[in-house]
């Protein structure tokens, strides 16, 4: 299951979660974001014990996007104990995404 975050829930989830959190910065009007959404769903259910996946709509939460210098979507940032440990920009296949996150969760 993928949580939809807002500004308030963002910090809470980042620091309260023991497993790494992958945050997907997205928006409703972004085609490549739509293409990667089902892939993130799959990863979320396959790795539910190792990884939390959350989404944040940049349209509604611009401050968070600015805080993390997100200027392109989809951007997926992996946070380990609240710290950014990896950043993946652009839509891609499940295999390619997992490869980029290999060993990090």
């Amino acid at each position: 299951m993928i949580t939809q975050l807002d500004e308030r829930g963002f910090d809470e989830l980042l620091f309260a979660t023991e497993v790494p959190v992958l945050v997907d910065f997205w928006a409703t009007w972004c085609g490549p974001c739509k293409a990667i959404a089902p892939i993130l769903e799959e990863i979320a259910s396959e790795y539910s014990d190792k990884l939390t996946i959350a989404k944040i709509d940049v349209d509604q939460n611009q401050q968070i996007a600015t805080r993390y210098n997100v200027q392109s979507i989809p951007t997926m940032i992996l946070f380990s104990q609240g710290q950014e440990s990896a950043r993946v920009i652009g839509s891609m296949s499940k295999q390619a995404l997992l490869k980029k996150l290999e060993g990090l969760f």
Partner: protein, 319 residues
Amino acid sequence: MSTDAVNEVVIIGSGPAGLTAAIYSARANLNPIIVEGEPSSNSDQPGGQLMLTTEVENFPGFPEGILGPELMTRMKDQAIKFGAKFITSKVTKVKLTDKIKRIWLSDENETELLAHSVIISTGAKSIMLNVENESRLLGYGVSTCATCDGFFFRNKNIAVVGGGDSALEEAIFLTKFADKVTIIHRRDAFRASKIMQQRALSNEKIDVLWNTEIRAFNGENSLNSVTLFNNLLNKEYEFDLDGAFVAIGHSPNTEIFQNQVLMDENGYIITNNGTKTNLEGVFACGDVQDHMYKQAITAAGSGCAAAIDTEKWLNNNIS
């Protein structure tokens, strides 16, 4: 891994050409398999170049216009309705010179598909400038997708690089967010259609830097400026910029077919006598074999032709 069944036809690519070929060959009971590609943020993705566009105004049958991604979703739905099967994967390797054609996929199992005939409709991908810092700043001010990233440049200083229809469409789209959009074009005239040129040039928010090339992107964490070169005055200078959208053109996606399928010097597949390639049972349609028209409707038209040519070939050659 290999699946033993020999498919009647495998279609590689899922833009307007591939999907039209899918609709026609599914209706002809050829049970087509479409290897549609993988998600990406450039035009090399399922649905093709139209997935990154907004309003399509020149596809017949839609007087009020239709969104590019919506048009492609509808074409895919239409192909599925008639039984076409889709695989979300890329093709990594082919062997098309034998009677039974072999196609390897990019999935974990490296699945191998067998086919009596193949329709190539892999289209073209957007090309990058290949200048300093371009790949490092991709996603940090340098973008290939105006519809994805325009939002982040509200009231910022932005530019579109290129002079074709897609560059001008992006520039016009980006005026929704920015007060000023600069088009940077290396020639003294646009390649784009008259109607797009009129719209862009009459738009008060759009400025054009003619005869100007980008030499480098500059910036630490995000784009701050570009190094420009005016090729008329032979002058290099810095230009402040927060966002640059690259739309300089396309090159055909034909790397995997090299040394098997005959191509011209620019990598476009050569077709003869309809959609036939140099190989028996291998057909090509859409932008992968068209450097002249490059329209959704011409791609769809040639996709239809490829399906008909394939059906005829199968009838004559495979019992």
